[in-house]
C-alpha cells in the first residue's frame, strides 16, 4: 500500500525557499504588526493574527509535503552567521525527530486562534500568541545551542503574560511559579551550553596539538629560510597556510549542535573502538571526558525535566494549566511541554549518548513513576483542568520511558506520542473550554448528566477521551504501544509496570466522564447547550487526526524512522549499548510444520521435541538468549 500522494512527495533538498526561517519570522512579524495596529481597530486583530499564523502553518505543511522521508539527516537547513566571534549562527533545520512537532505547532496555533477568542484586551493577547508561535517553531528547529536557548527562553515570556493576563483566579501565582520554575531549569542549561562549547573548543585545541607543533616548526623553517635570504619553497608556504587554518579552526568556538554532536561522537567512537584509552581521565587530549559530560548532561536534563515535567518537578504544571486561559492550556500541553521531551532527544541522546545511556535507568524510573503517580493523583482531582494536567504528567512519563529505553520502537513511539498528546490533550482542553463557556466552572462536582442535553459534545469528548486512554484504532494507542513494546526489549520490568498505567488511565477518565456527562442534570439545571456548528468545525481536524493516526500511522512513522535509526546507531557506536536483535530483525523463530506434530503428541511430549528443534536450528538458540531474562 502506498502512502497518500500528498505525503509521499519527496525531494526536500530542492526547496530553495527558506521555509523554516519564514515559519519563524512570519509569526514574529505578525506579533509586531498586531502590536502596531491601532487600539480602535480591534475587529481586524483576529483576522491579522490568523493570517500570519495560518501562513506559518502553511509553511510547515509545505515542509511536510516536501520532506524527504528517506533522509536521516537535517533538511531545509538554513545557516547564517550571526555573532562571528563566538561562532553563533542562525542555524535551523528539521529531521524526522522534529518534523511533526513543527507541523503540530503550525497547525495547533491557527486552530486555537479560530477556536478561542479572548475575553478582554485582544491586542496584546494576539501579539503574545504570535510571539509564542515564533518561539516554539524556533525552538524545535534551532540547531545552534545559543539560538535554541534564546527561543527556549522567549516562549516563557508570552506564556507568562497569557496566564497572568487572561487566566483565572490564582493566575498571578501560577504564572510566577511557571516562570520561575522553568527559569531555574534553564539557568542550569545555560551553564551547560557554555561549558559544552568551551570544553569542545579545548578538545579541538588539544587535538590540534600536533598540527600546532608542526606549524611552529614550519614557521621556524620559513623564518630561517627568510633569514638566510633564501627563496621560500611555495609548497612549504601552502603547508603553513593549511596548518594555520587548521589551528585557527580548532580555536573557533562553536554552538552548532550537529558539529558538537559529531565531535563528541567521533571521540566516543574512537574510545569504543579502542583507539583511545578507555579511562578518559587519563587521556590528555580529551578534555571532554566523562566527568564533564556527566555534569553538562545533567544541567541540560534539569531544564528539560522541569519543562516535561518529570515527577517530582511537575507541580508547576497543574497550577499553570488550571489558571491559564483555554488557549494557554491548549498550547502549553499541546506544544510547550514537548520542548522538554524534544530536548531530551536532541540535546540528551543526540549530544550525550554516553551520559544518556548511563543515566537511562534514572529517567526510565522517573518516567514510570510519573505514569503511575500522575494517574493516581489525576483520579482524585476535583477540577477538570487539574485532572487533565495530571494526565499529562502520566502521558509524558510514557514519552520519557520511550526516550530512555533507547530502542527504535520506543523512541519512535515516544516521538509519535508527543504529537498524539498534542492533538488529544489539545482537543481535550478545547473541549474543557467549551464546557467552561457553558457552566462557568471546571469543578466536577457541579456537573452532571450533560450528555442528556449535549450529546454531540459528549460524543466528541468520548472520542478524545478514548484516544487519551489509548484505545486501539485511535492515535494514542500506537504511540503507547510502541513505547511499551520497545521498552520491554531493554527495560522489561519498567515496561511491565508502566503498562499498568493503562488501567489507571481508564479509571480516572471514565470516572470523570461519568460524573460530568452521565446521570441526570440537577433539578435547577436548565440544561447545558450542545456544541455549536462552529465549535464542531474546529474539532474536525483534530478528530480526523485522532482517527487517521490511529488507523494509518505509517506515513508518520516512516518519516520519523530514518532519523531515529540514525540516532540509535549513534548510541550503539558511541557506547556499549546494543539494540536487541528483536527490535531490528523481524521474525526470528522457526516455523514448525504444525501438521507433523499433532497426532501422537501431547503437552508433555512436546517439550522433549522442543529441545530437538533448538539443536537443529541456530535461530532457536538466538531466541533462547532473549528469553533468559525472565
Amino acid at each position: 500500500m502506498h502512502a497518500l500522494p500528498l505525503l509521499a512527495a519527496e525531494g526536500g533538498a530542492v526547496v530553495r525557499f527558506p521555509l523554516l526561517t519564514a515559519a519563524v519570522l512570519v509569526p514574529l512579524i505578525g506579533a509586531i504588526v498586531v502590536a502596531l495596529i491601532p487600539k480602535r481597530r480591534t475587529e481586524i486583530l483576529r483576522l491579522v493574527a490568523l493570517l500570519f499564523s495560518g501562513t506559518a502553518g502553511a509553511f510547515t505543511v509545505w515542509m511536510l509535503a516536501a520532506f524527504d522521508r528517506h533522509d536521516s539527516g537535517m533538511q531545509f537547513e538554513s545557516v547564517h552567521t550571526w555573532i562571528e566571534e563566538f561562532g553563533i549562527q542562525w542555524h535551523l533545520g528539521v529531521d524526522g525527530i522534529s518534523l511533526f512537532l513543527v507541523v503540530l505547532t503550525g497547525v495547533l496555533f491557527p486552530l486555537t486562534l479560530v477556536a478561542v477568542t479572548p475575553k478582554k484586551d485582544p491586542k496584546p493577547y494576539y501579539a503574545w500568541l504570535l510571539l509564542l508561535e515564533a518561539g516554539c517553531i524556533g525552538a524545535f528547529t534551532s540547531l545552534d545551542l545559543f539560538l535554541f536557548f534564546i527561543f527556549f527562553e522567549i516562549v516563557l515570556v508570552p506564556m507568562y503574560f497569557l496566564i497572568g493576563g487572561w487566566g483565572y483566579g490564582q493566575r498571578v501565582y501560577a504564572a510566577l511559579k511557571f516562570f520561575l520554575y522553568t527559569m531555574f531549569g534553564s539557568a542550569l542549561m545555560l551553564v551547560g551550553i557554555l561549558a559544552l562549547a568551551f570544553v569542545d573548543r579545548d578538545t579541538k585545541v588539544d587535538q590540534s596539538a600536533v598540527a600546532r607543533q608542526q606549524l611552529a616548526q614550519l614557521e621556524q623553517t620559513v623564518q630561517s629560510q627568510l633569514g638566510a635570504g633564501l627563496q621560500v619553497d611555495p609548497a612549504l608556504l601552502d603547508e603553513v597556510e593549511i596548518l594555520a587554518a587548521e589551528v585557527e579552526a580548532s580555536e573557533q568556538i562553536t554552538f552548532d549542535v550537529v558539529e558538537l554532536a559529531d565531535n563528541r561522537a567521533e571521540l566516543l567512537e574512537a574510545q569504543q573502538n579502542g583507539d583511545l584509552p578507555t579511562d578518559p581521565n587519563a587521556n590528555s587530549w580529551n578534555p571532554l571526558h566523562w566527568g564533564a559530560a556527566k555534569w553538562i548532561f545533567l544541567a541540560f536534563a534539569m531544564a528539560f525535566a522541569v519543562k516535561v515535567p518529570l515527577v517530582p518537578l511537575h507541580t508547576w504544571l497543574p497550577d499553570a494549566h488550571t489558571q491559564a486561559p483555554t488557549a494557554g492550556s491548549v498550547l502549553l500541553a499541546g506544544v510547550m511541554l514537548k520542548l522538554g521531551t524534544y530536548g531530551f532527544l536532541r540535546f540528551g541522546l543526540y549530544l550525550f549518548p554516553d551520559a544518556s545511556h548511563f543515566f537511562a535507568p534514572v529517567f526510565l524510573t522517573l518516567g514510570v513513576v510519573g505514569i503511575l503517580y500522575g494517574a493516581i493523583v489525576a483520579t482524585m482531582q476535583k477540577d477538570l483542568k487539574r485532572l487533565v494536567a495530571y494526565s499529562s504528567v502520566a502521558h509524558l512519563g510514557f514519552i520519557a520511558l520511550g526516550t530512555f529505553a533507547l530502542t527504535t520502537q520506543a523512541i519512535e513511539g515516544g516521538i509519535l506520542q508527543m504529537v498524539n498528546h498534542g492533538i488529544s490533550t489539545g482537543a481535550l482542553f478545547l473541549l474543557l473550554g467549551m464546557i467552561y463557556e457553558r457552566r462557568h466552572t471546571y469543578e466536577i462536582a457541579t456537573m452532571s448528566g450533560m450528555q442528556k442535553t449535549a450529546p454531540v459534545l459528549a460524543g466528541v469528548f468520548t472520542l478524545v477521551m478514548l484516544s487519551s486512554i489509548g484505545l486501539p484504532g485511535l492515535n494514542g494507542f500506537v504511540g503507547e504501544f510502541l513505547i511499551l513494546a520497545g521498552a520491554y526489549l531493554t527495560a522489561k520490568w519498567w515496561a511491565v509496570v508502566a503498562a499498568a498505567g493503562v488501567i489507571l488511565a481508564a479509571l480516572y477518565l471514565l470516572w470523570a466522564y461519568q460524573r460530568v456527562f452521565h446521570g441526570t442534570p440537577a433539578d435547577d439545571d436548565p440544561g447545558t447547550p450542545d456544541m455549536k456548528l462552529g465549535e464542531f468545525v474546529v474539532m474536525i481536524p483534530l478528530i480526523g487526526l485522532i482517527v487517521f493516526m490511529g488507523v494509518y500511522p505509517k506515513p508518520v512513522l516512516e518519516r520519523i524512522e530514518p532519523a531515529v535509526s540514525a540516532l540509535v546507531e549513534r548510541i550503539e557506536n558511541t557506547t556499549d549499548f546494543t539494540e536487541p536483535d528483536a527490535a531490528t530483525s523481524g521474525f526470528s523463530g522457526t516455523v514448525v510444520d504444525s501438521h507433523g506434530a499433532d497426532d501422537d503428541d501431547h503437552a508433555d511430549e512436546s517439550h522433549a521435541e522442543d529441545d530437538g528443534h533448538a539443536e537443529d536450528d541456530g535461530h532457536a538458540e538466538d531466541t533462547d538468549d532473549h528469553g533468559e531474562g525472565e
Binding site: G473, L489, V502, D598, E628
Partner: protein, 676 residues
C-alpha cells in the same frame, strides 16, 4: 480461493453500517436505522457463509488463508499489518457471531421500540460486531487486541446506554476498568512475543512456538490467560459481568453471553501451540480457574431473584466450563460448548428480555409466575433453552457439556476425577437454578396483579417465596422502583397496567430460530461415532494440539459418564420441581449466595475504603509535600531576600565596613594556607 478473498467484507459491512448510522442515523430514525444495521450484519453473515463454503472447498491442509489489507504499524524490524487469517477456527467464530448477531439485531428493533436513542443503539451494536469480527479474524495478536479493546469499549457504551441511571453508568465503567486489568496481561504477552520472536503474526508465532524456550512460552501463555480472565469473566475478575446486565437485554444476549465474553476462550484456543510449549503447571491453573469459576458462579445463581442476574451468573459458570475444557487441552469441546452456549444463552437472554418487555420492565422473578399463559412463544422457546442448558438429551447443551466432562475426567495427562466432580456438581446446580427460574417465571401462581387494587392476598403469596426477611424485600423494592420508573410498586406486589403480553414478531422470530438451533445444535459434534465428529474434523487444522483421551475412556465409560450427567441434571430439576412447583420445602436461598459470597461487595468496600484513601493520600502528598517543598523553597528565598534587604542600607560607610571585613577574612584565609 476467490470466495476467500471476500473475507474483508465480513467486518467491512458492519463498519459501513456504523459509519452510515453515525452520519445519517438520526435522520433514518425508527425503525429504518435498525433495519439498516440488521441488514449489514445479515450481509456480513452471508459473506461469512460464502467464505465458509470456499474454505470447505479447499483441501484440509490448505485451509488457512491470509489477507493483508495494509501495513498498520511498521517500525524497525517489526511489521504489524491489518490483515485477516481465514481458517476453520476463525470462520466458525464468524459464523455464529454474525448469525446470532443478525437475530439479535432483528430482535432489538422490537425491543428498543420507542427508545429516544434508537439509532444510537444500533450504531453501537454495529460497531460492536465489527470489533468482534476484527478480534476473531485478525491475523496477528495486535489486530485481535484492537478488536478486544473495541468490544470492551462498545460494551462500555452499551452497558451505560441508559446513562441517566447512575447505577448503569457505574456498571459500564466497572466493566471497562476491570477488563483493562486483563488487557494489561494481553499487552505484556504481545511485548514478550515481540521480544522473543520478533513477530506477533499468528502463522509465525504459532508455527514458531516450538522454538520458544519454556519460560517465555509460559510467560506468554499466562499473560494471555490473564487477558482471558478479564474478558471471559473468570475468577477473580468476573465481577463486572453480573453488573453488565444493566445494559439493554439484547446487549446482554449478544455481548455478555454469546460473543464477547467467549473471546478469552477463543484467544487461548487460537494460541494452543504456545500453551503446549508452556510449563506443565499452566494447563492445570487454567483448568482449575475454570472449574472453580463454574462452581462458584453456579452457587450464586441459585439465590438470585433478578431474572437477568440468574442468567448472568449462569454465563460466568458456563464460561468456566469452557475454560476448564481449554485447561485440559480439550479445545474442540470448548469451542463446541461456546457455540451451543451462544445459541441457548442468547435464546434465554432474549427470552428474558421478552418477559421483561411483556411485564412492563419488571425483572424480579418473585413478581412473576404462570407467564406461559400470557406469552406462549416466549415460554416455549425459553423452555427449550432451559432443557439445553440443563443438559437434557438430546438438546445441544447435553452433548457439549458431556464432552467437557468426559475430557475433564479422561484427558490424557491433564484430566482427573476432581475436575470432573466439580464439573458434575456444577451441572447439577445448573439444572437446579435454571429449573427454579423457569418454574418461578412461567409456572406456578401469578404473583402480580393486573389493574386491580386488591393487594392483600397476592402479597401473602409473594412472601412465601421470599420469606428470608424484610431486608431483601426492601432492597428489591428499591431496585424495582429504580428500574420500573413510572410504574407504581406497592409493597411486594407488582401491579401491571395491562396484561403481560407476547412480543412482536421481530422479537419472537429470533427466539424461534434460536430455539431450533439450541435444540439441534448438538448435531455438529455427535459422540456416537468418529464419523460424526464434524466439528473436530473441521477444526483440526487450527487446533493441532488437541488432547487425547486416555485408554480408560472406553465406550462403556463414556456411556456411564453420560448417564451420570443426565442423572445429575434430573436431580437438579427434581429438587427445583419439589421446591418451586410442589412447594414441599422452603426455598433454600441463603442470603450469602444472593450477595454473591459478598465477593463483589468486599472488593467495592476495599476500593471505596482503603483503595480510595490510598489514592487520596497520594494526592494530598502531592499537594503538601511535593508542591509544599516547591513553595517552601520559594518562601525561603523570599524570606532570605527580605532579610538581606536590610543590609542594602545605601550608606557608603557600611559598605566600606563590609569590604574591610571581607578583606580581613580573605587575608586570614591565605595566612592560614601558608605552610611554614
Amino acid at each position: 480461493m476467490e470466495t476467500l478473498e471476500l473475507v474483508w467484507l465480513v467486518p467491512a459491512l458492519p463498519l459501513l453500517g456504523f459509519l452510515a448510522l453515525l452520519v445519517f442515523g438520526r435522520k433514518l430514525g425508527e425503525p429504518q436505522a435498525g433495519m439498516l444495521a440488521t441488514a449489514m450484519i445479515g450481509g456480513s453473515f452471508l459473506a461469512t457463509v460464502a467464505v465458509f463454503i470456499g474454505l470447505v472447498g479447499e483441501p484440509e491442509e490448505s485451509r488457512s488463508f491470509t489477507q493483508t489489507l495494509f501495513e498498520w504499524i511498521p517500525v524497525g524490524g517489526w511489521q504489524v499489518d491489518v490483515g485477516f487469517l481465514v481458517d476453520p477456527l476463525s470462520i466458525t467464530m464468524c459464523l455464529f457471531v454474525t448469525g446470532v448477531g443478525t437475530l439479535i439485531h432483528l430482535y432489538s428493533i422490537g425491543y428498543m421500540h420507542g427508545d429516544p436513542h434508537f439509532s444510537k443503539f444500533f450504531l453501537y451494536l454495529n460497531l460492536f460486531v465489527f470489533s468482534m469480527l476484527m478480534l476473531v479474524l485478525g491475523n496477528n495478536l495486535l489486530i485481535t487486541f484492537l478488536g478486544w479493546e473495541g468490544v470492551g469499549a462498545c460494551s462500555y457504551f452499551l452497558i451505560s446506554f441508559w446513562f441517566t441511571d447512575p447505577e448503569k453508568a457505574s456498571a459500564g465503567k466497572k466493566a471497562f476498568v476491570t477488563n483493562r486489568i486483563g488487557d494489561w496481561g494481553f499487552m505484556v504477552a504481545i511485548f514478550a512475543s515481540f521480544a522473543a520472536l520478533g513477530s506477533i503474526t499468528y502463522t509465525e508465532i504459532l508455527g514458531g512456538a516450538g522454538s520458544l524456550p519454556e519460560t517465555t512460552a509460559t510467560l506468554i501463555a499466562m499473560c494471555l490467560f490473564v487477558g482471558a480472565i478479564g474478558k471471559s469473566a473468570q475468577f477473580p475478575l468476573f465481577v463486572w459481568l453480573p453488573d453488565a446486565m444493566a445494559g439493554p437485554t439484547p446487549v446482554s444476549a449478544l455481548i455478555h453471553a454469546a460473543t464477547m465474553v467467549t473471546s478469552g476462550v477463543y484467544l487461548l484456543t487460537r494460541v494452543n501451540p504456545i500453551i503446549a510449549e508452556a510449563a506443565s503447571w499452566v494447563q492445570p491453573v487454567i483448568a482449575w480457574t475454570g472449574a472453580f469459576t463454574a462452581l462458584f458462579a453456579a452457587t450464586i445463581a441459585v439465590s438470585q431473584r433478578d431474572i437477568k442476574k440468574v442468567l448472568a451468573y449462569s454465563t460466568v459458570s458456563q464460561l468456566g466450563y469452557m475454560m476448564l475444557a481449554v485447561g485440559v487441552g480439550a479445545y474442540v469441546p470448548a469451542v463446541f460448548h461456546m457455540i451451543t452456549h451462544a445459541f441457548f444463552k442468547a435464546l434465554l437472554f432474549l427470552g428474558s428480555g421478552s418477559v421483561i418487555h411483556g411485564m412492563h420492565e419488571e425483572q424480579d422473578m418473585r413478581r412473576m409466575g404462570n407467564l406461559r399463559k400470557y406469552m406462549p412463544i416466549t415460554a416455549g422457546t425459553f423452555i427449550i433453552g432451559w432443557l439445553a442448558i440443563a443438559g437434557v438429551p438430546p438438546f445441544s447443551g447435553f452433548f457439549s457439556k458431556d464432552e467437557i466432562l468426559l475430557y475433564a475426567a479422561h484427558a490424557e495427562g491433564t484430566g482427573n476425577w476432581a475436575l470432573y466432580a466439580v464439573g458434575l456438581v456444577t451441572a447439577l446446580l445448573t439444572a437446579f437454578y435454571m429449573s427454579r427460574q423457569v418454574f418461578m417465571v412461567f409456572f406456578g401462581d401469578e404473583r402480580f396483579e393486573v389493574e386491580s387494587g386488591d393487594h392483600a392476598d397476592t402479597a401473602e403469596e409473594t412472601s412465601d417465596d421470599a420469606a428470608e426477611g424484610a431486608e431483601a424485600e426492601a432492597e428489591a423494592d428499591v431496585d424495582a422502583t429504580a428500574d420500573a420508573g413510572a410504574e407504581p410498586v406497592e409493597a411486594d406486589t407488582l401491579v401491571l397496567h395491562g396484561e403481560p403480553h407476547e412480543s412482536p414478531w421481530t422479537m419472537w422470530v429470533p427466539l424461534a430460530v434460536l430455539a431450533v438451533a439450541a435444540a439441534i445444535g448438538g448435531a455438529i459434534q455427535l459422540p456416537f461415532a468418529k464419523d460424526l465428529h464434524f466439528l473436530e474434523d473441521w477444526l483440526h487444522p487450527s487446533i493441532p494440539n488437541e488432547v487425547h483421551l486416555t485408554s480408560a475412556a472406553t465406550t462403556g465409560m463414556k456411556v456411564g459418564l453420560a448417564v451420570l450427567a443426565v442423572v445429575a441434571g434430573a436431580i437438579g430439576i427434581g429438587i427445583a420441581y419439589a421446591i418451586y412447583i410442589r412447594k414441599q420445602r422452603e426455598p433454600i436461598e441463603p442470603e450469602i449466595l444472593a450477595e454473591g459470597w459478598k465477593y463483589d461487595s468486599s472488593i467495592s468496600a476495599f476500593m471505596g475504603g482503603p483503595g480510595r484513601k490510598g489514592f487520596e493520600a497520594t494526592a494530598t502528598f502531592d499537594k503538601t509535600v511535593v508542591d509544599g517543598a516547591v513553595n517552601g523553597v520559594a518562601g525561603l528565598v523570599k524570606r532570605t531576600g527580605e532579610g538581606l534587604r536590610g543590609s542594602q542600607t545605601g550608606f557608603v560607610r557600611s559598605y566600606a565596613l563590609g569590604i574591610a571585613g571581607g578583606a580581613v577574612l580573605l587575608l586570614a584565609y591565605f595566612i592560614a594556607q601558608v605552610t611554614f
